[in-house]
Symmetry: C2
DNA sequence: ACTCTGGGTTCTGTTTCAGAACTCACTCGT
DNA sequence: ACGAGTGAGTTCTGAAACAGAACCCAGAGT
């Protein structure tokens, strides 16, 4: 690998949510689904796999299992903060799907709640107070010794 | 699936890039890697899988295979615009990895090229000219007939 | 007692993943 | 002209992951 990039960290993440279902489960959870059978119905996922995925998500801190009633003791699954923090990933994925994988835009648009305008996703520089696209990204070494080695990112592609 | 929403589109996308390798391949490509063996070495991916993944990425328009020399006819793989457009997904993933999956921040920081400040990723409303977080997202029906049913996305805050 | 509901587990295939080792076309140095 | 080297793959093989029916079990409702 080119010196010190991090396939490790991202790789570990992909081991948690990098399968066909986990992200869809998180998505469903963001839509308010909490119960085993509802996940099943909503996603059309096989039960054994759902069991397994939920367990994995829970053990990785993406979701928690909380009882919602005693007696016929029942649990539901909710996103933790870490789980909610996945929404940028999801949004990025959904938008990419709409724009590049698919002709048909999804029937559900994501909007800025206060004003109802369809949202965009952008990179943001807090110093310049500006948004920008992929072309303006650069990767730099963060480690102690040598700072400044910039070596990420593509050529072309105008920002949006 | 419960009417309306689009597991289909996102599902199709996940079939393309929803495995442990595809995203890492795109990431490597964004770092400038183009050749078969370089992907191999960089990622530590098994060759047959790389072959398959590249083929799939090409056939789905994420990458293209272009000859970079005749004679010993050789090809390299480059991202298309659609491929470059995946960078928000990647960035979101990397940032989540750093913040939630891992203690150690990655050695490579992503910065805003012009000024060198570490970038953030945010949702952006062009009407309000403001950035905001997941809590301010709402999903609304886009289709003709029944508009108004809003039912996506996080209700303020599940767990905690 | 008997059926329903929620939340699972078992069992049995079928794809997909992964890795070593091999191939093949071509070029280069000698 | 001959062996070594390269780039880009294939073929085998075994290990996981996925998928679907069917089964289980504790309580509750009737």
């Amino acid at each position: 690998m080119t010196a010190g990039d991090t396939p490790e960290a991202i790789d570990r993440t992909l081991r948690v949510i990098g399968d066909r279902w986990s992200i869809l489960i998180v998505r469903a959870a963001l839509r308010g689904i909490r119960r085993f059978d509802d996940f099943c119905d909503d996603l059309g996922i096989a039960r054994p796999i759902l069991t397994q995925r939920l367990r994995r998500l829970v053990s990785n801190g993406v979701m928690i299992k909380v009882p919602y009633q005693e007696h016929p003791l029942r649990h539901e699954y909710r996103l933790t903060d870490a789980g909610i923090a996945l929404s940028p990933v999801l949004v990025a994925l959904v938008r990419w799907s709409e724009e590049h994988a698919d002709g048909t835009p999804s029937p559900t648009a994501l909007v800025h709640a206060p004003c109802g305008t369809e949202l965009e996703q952008a990179f943001w520089c807090r110093r310049c107070r500006t948004t920008f696209g992929p072309a303006a990204i650069r990767g730099v070494e963060r480690a102690a010794g040598d700072v400044g080695s910039s070596k990420d990112v593509p050529d072309g592609s105008p920002a949006h």
